[in-house]
Symmetry: C2
Subunit: 409 residues, 2 copies
């Protein structure tokens, strides 16, 4: 799901580092949010190929496809989604119901609504294995719904009765490939597959779960369009998810749907030229960018005596037809860990870097999540500052002197 996340305490002063921001040595670098504008140059290079023209009298009706369960889904978008999954090989679409949402954020809300039961005596438990995406908790709790209840870490969940487990794979924040962990009788699963695309992880096989969520934001970088989609096996669940969208927003922007259809179509076409002399495919391009960033980051972090990054297993990607190196990674976020008692978020803040503390993900302050999506200038400045932090912390650890580093409280 989204990398901006649903930080209910979003701070107006915490200006995101965007491509439009000009940075100085004193600038605060905001790597809290995962705004994927780093892919913008690729789409610029595509020129008019992805340009959308909408006439003043187009798309006026609430309705898109009155014969479809999801009656507000533009058929072109449904076709483009199907074509893309077929080209990439990351999800089974045959016989699935497609539900479009205002980002996968709205679809997550729709899924937990659809999986809950209004006639139940207790709210259904909602869990995710820590470290989990920080937005789930906010989304589950902010309206104090009596339908579902956030119960935190799936690994320690042991209540009887129905539950919903969200499986985020690759995981946000740490990029790990995941399966369900609770595995009890009355469980329902929601797979959040926002990052199951070739630039972030090897595509090992087409996934085939009951409810799978994807988002345009993280697939191509078009976060501003707010388009997500769900592939749903069960007709009644798809109907209830559609109902959620109907009651909460009477459907989803048709302009965004048409634009997503166009861009996903161009993306699918590009997949046919993979590995040929033709122009670089978007997934090749974006994977290269992610890799280069991870290499630079690993080169900095390896000098630290106390900081580390997750290790990613080597795997064969069916899409690229290649084995991925196990190191460096290509995940959308860096999940930095300190083996010493350091409050990462505060330490970074001292050095004018905003990351998100592990505490928000059900982990602890010794972890911090850093977005790998920042504009190039911000990423470079981040690496410089991280190097300086590493020099300080290495010195402190070696000398055992009074540390200027903020310890965990």
């Amino acid at each position: 799901m989204g990398g901006l996340e649903n930080d209910a305490t979003y701070n107006q002063n915490s200006v995101p580092s965007t491509n439009k921001t000009s940075l100085s040595p004193d600038s605060i670098i905001n790597l809290d949010q995962g705004d994927p504008t780093l892919f913008e140059p690729y789409w610029r290079k595509m020129g008019d190929k992805c340009t959308l023209v909408i006439g003043g009298c187009d798309l006026m009706s609430y309705f898109s496809d009155i014969g479809n369960i999801c009656w507000f889904l533009q058929p072109q978008l449904g076709d483009a989604i199907k074509g893309l999954h077929r080209a990439v090989g990351n999800a089974v679409t045959d016989g699935r119901h497609f539900v479009v949402g205002t980002g996968s954020t709205q679809l997550f809300m729709a899924a937990i609504y659809a999986l809950s039961s209004p006639s139940a005596s207790h709210p259904v438990s909602l869990v995710a294995a820590a470290p989990y995406y920080s937005g789930y908790k906010d989304q589950a709790e902010f309206l104090r719904s009596g339908l579902y209840k956030w119960e935190g870490d799936a690994r320690t969940f042991d209540k009887d009765g129905p539950y919903i487990e969200v499986v985020t794979s690759p995981n946000n924040p740490d990029g790990a490939i995941r399966e369900a962990v609770v595995n009890l009788g009355e469980g329902k699963l929601v797979y959040d597959l926002a990052y199951y695309w070739p630039q972030y992880t090897p595509i090992t096989h087409p996934l085939d779960h009951d409810i799978m969520l994807f988002t345009f934001s993280k697939c191509t970088g078009h976060a501003g369009s707010r388009i997500g989609w769900a592939l749903v096996k069960d007709r009644e669940l798809a109907r209830k998810m559609t109902e959620y969208m109907q009651i909460s927003s009477i459907g989803v922007s048709k302009e965004s749907q048409l634009r997503a259809a166009k861009i996903l179509g161009v993306l699918s076409e590009g997949c046919q030229n993979l590995g040929t002399a033709a122009s670089e495919n978007f997934f090749e391009y974006s994977h290269r960018i992610m890799r280069e960033r991870w290499e630079s980051l690993q080169n900095v972090v390896k000098n630290s005596k106390i900081f580390s990054l997750p290790k990613f297993p080597q795997d064969f990607c069916n899409f690229t037809g290649k084995y991925t190196d196990s190191n460096p990674g290509d995940a959308p976020f860096a999940w930095l860990h300190s083996k010493e008692d350091i409050d990462w978020e505060s330490l970074l803040r001292e050095h004018k870097i905003i990351g998100r503390s592990g505490e928000k993900f059900g982990a602890d302050q010794k972890y911090v999540r850093i977005s790998m999506f920042s504009p190039p200038e911000a990423f470079t400045l981040f690496l410089e500052r991280l190097s300086a932090i590493i020099d300080i912390t290495n010195g402190n650890v070696a000398g055992g002197e009074e540390s200027s580093v903020i310890k965990c409280s």
Copy 2:
């Protein structure tokens, strides 16, 4: 707010009467929803003036205006909204915070979230004077929120403590101009002004309430774009409404925002030529269409011995500079009443017309709401069938014979 409404029991077989539907004498005419496609010809006539072109690399970021409380509001849309309210004179915008939503539907949810208190021991009561828009109840109840509780008709509300009253003006379903009715100390008001535009009602003065909701759908007929906006006096309320949008959908489609900005801009420009020999302004055009429909409807209903339509008071419209006739009306829905015990919805269904029963609006079965937005062919067929129903009911009433008409249960 929206005319499709949030009918949680939306029936897939209940195909809406759209411009694309070809009707036969056996066709079911669906006048349940208020899909405003009847204004399409106007926008078609405008040619390229309202055409929007979006490049593949445009609008990629989550962010639109990082210095604004509503950080996902495209500045062009804020400017267009301000310009339009100034041109029409229906709402005060100076010093107001603008919050954009996925239709005014999402903004209504945001408003009741913002006006509730997570620390309160009881949910805040939510009321609206009957007959009220049928969607409010669904929106307030579907997630079983502990923050707010639907308490129905404002006229009979007498609980102590905080409450929220939604004032819909002109009212959906009956077109009445409204003020708050509860008027107790701890009340907060949300004004749903979806229909406070010159085609539906005289614009008597610029409204100046704490929270005012508008929607692109009903202003210009572009329902598919899902764009609504709120004008909010209090900064903290605007922040909380923005927070709602952030948690539930991380903002609002930027494509739709840009399109709304363009079309609202063209609309405002057109207002400068009002009443001149220049091309017909959209509000003149749409008002003329609504009037013509009401005249035809009144001409049919006046033959009935038992059916009636609401009376609209004469008023001076500052926008057109004219007094409106008190009869016929120009409201978006016809709120048909029967003085006999007739179950309107069932009666219409027998004659292949789908309306929405008064029961859904906190009234009774002797009322039914009919959308005045249907495509021309559907509206003509509706009038023919209504004439036939009136012939039958007149006969029955006159003769006192066994009625084929379905009585209220």
